[in-house]
């Protein structure tokens, strides 16, 4: 599952959105990889990610960091999200230096992550990009909604929930940051970037009426 691939946005609003994650290859280096994946999470945590998680256990906003780390299994995919480029580069370098032996993948603007890898002393191995959305695209909501919801590649952040939190903010039931954290909860893996979500919500708030159809 390319769960961090199709994050929609512009160069400007994606520039502070970095995901780093790790996993073992089943049947090749999976045995006892849980120890390496825990170490990966511990290293990521040192650099203050804005989200953090394991698909099997959950994310920052629904369980504790300690539970996420302690629960990592050989088959886990473990993630961290940064909204700070320098912290991301430092985390990348620390993970390289730790020489864990599990596969590490980064997501973000391709040219910029390439440069971040270079600064961390890492060469790119394989790249993946989206060729966009095809088919009956008239069924999709506004781009404003998509930019927020597609931060969860598994589709766990419903379009209707993004609309609901916009209404909540408009009507004073939640702050923008509270809304962004609510949106982060269903994204089990912890790849949702609440900081980016808050910035996107703030940007679009004035464009939406009180009733979001």
């Amino acid at each position: 599952m390319s769960h961090t691939l199709h994050r929609r946005g512009t160069a400007e609003n994606l520039k502070n959105d970095f995901v780093i994650f790790a996993m073992s290859a089943k049947g090749i280096n999976e045995i006892d990889s849980n120890v390496k994946l825990r170490r990966f999470l511990e290293i990521v945590r040192e650099f203050n990610p804005v989200n953090f998680g394991d698909m099997k256990t959950g994310n920052y906003f629904i369980t504790s960091e300690e539970t996420i780390i302690a629960s990592a299994k050989d088959t886990s995919i473990v993630h961290g999200v940064f909204d700070n480029r320098e912290a991301f580069i430092k985390a990348l370098k620390a993970i390289k230096d730790a020489d864990l032996g599990v596969s590490v993948i980064v997501s973000g603007l391709l040219d910029d992550t390439h440069e971040c890898c270079r600064q961390a002393g890492i060469n790119r191995h394989t790249c993946e990009a989206s060729l966009g959305v095809w088919g009956k695209t008239e069924r999709l909501p506004d781009e404003d909604i998509l930019r927020v919801s597609t931060m969860c590649g598994h589709g766990m952040v419903p379009f209707s929930l993004v609309k609901k939190v916009i209404e909540d903010i408009k009507e004073g039931r939640r702050t923008i940051n509270e809304a962004a954290q609510e949106l982060a909860k269903p994204c089990q893996c912890g790849v949702f970037n609440p900081g980016r979500a808050a910035a996107l919500l703030e940007e679009i708030m004035c464009l939406w009426g009180i009733r979001v159809a």
Binding site: S2, A25, H125, K163
Partner: protein, 247 residues
């Protein structure tokens, strides 16, 4: 997902947490407002249940029988496919390519993610795309992908007829193609996309070639499709490292 009507308070808090908009509200015989889930549209993703927003704990998920069981395995990332032992919908694809060597020099990984973003897909649409891609010939569907396992005929892309009416949040058709077929696959997807009742997201993977180039991306541009400015990069730290003789 189902609603225990005796516990539902009709508060409406669950509605926004439905990925498919399948929750609605009606009055029962006594005039009480109660949630109901359209079972034809619900994909059993579990988001409404895990959100823990129901004050009456009325939402519950009975263990589904085949073929409905495919809904949760493709829609709920907490459910592992027995074929891959990976939670989620696809395989490790490029994520472990440094160790597995799944995609080599001279090849591209391509995937069509049916129903993504957030729209869902029925197997009738999934089959249309799988068959269109099969008709190109020399397209190798990823054998470990759970969707490949649901094909009745891997040579034609025909799906198991028992699942045809099932709906999933998304499902990925994964394949490996020689680089010189990338533009053909793009052409086939462009054509079949016009027949779909849903959306699909299209992925393109390529090993970084000598000279730090990603030739599949250039081929996509030549076919009139620009790869997005953001994406994923495997940074080659896995061990044992898959060694490949440079072409």
């Amino acid at each position: 997902m189902k609603v225990d009507e005796s516990k539902c308070l009709g508060c409406g808090r669950c509605r926004a947490y439905c990925t498919m908009g399948a929750i609605s509200f009606t009055r029962d015989a006594r005039g009480r407002v109660c949630a109901q889930v359209d079972q034809h549209e619900c994909v059993d993703c579990g988001v409404c249940f895990r959100a823990e927003v129901c004050p009456g704990e009325a939402l519950y998920e009975p263990k589904p029988e085949w073929p409905r069981s495919v809904r949760s395995t493709f829609s709920n990332p907490l459910v592992e496919h027995k074929e891959t032992r990976i939670p989620g919908r696809g395989t490790e694809e490029m994520k472990t390519n440094d160790v597995t060597g799944r995609f080599k020099w001279g090849e591209a990984g391509m995937a069509v993610e049916m129903g993504r973003p957030g729209t869902g897909a029925r197997f009738t649409d999934i089959e249309k795309v799988a068959m269109a891609l099969s008709s190109l010939g020399d397209i190798h569907f990823e054998p470990k992908n759970p969707l490949t396992g649901l094909m009745a005929d891997k040579n034609t892309g025909k799906m198991n007829p028992e699942v045809m009416d099932e709906k999933v949040l998304s499902a990925i058709i994964e394949m490996t193609v020689p680089l010189d077929r990338v533009q053909d696959v793009i052409g086939a997807v462009r054509k079949v996309a016009q027949e779909l009742s849903t959306v699909c997201s299209f992925d393109l993977t390529c090993k970084v070639h000598p000279g730090d180039t990603v030739p599949a991306f250039d081929l996509a541009r030549k076919a009139g499709v620009s790869p997005t400015i953001n994406g994923k990069t495997n940074v080659g730290l896995g061990k044992p490292f898959f060694e490949e003789v440079k072409q």
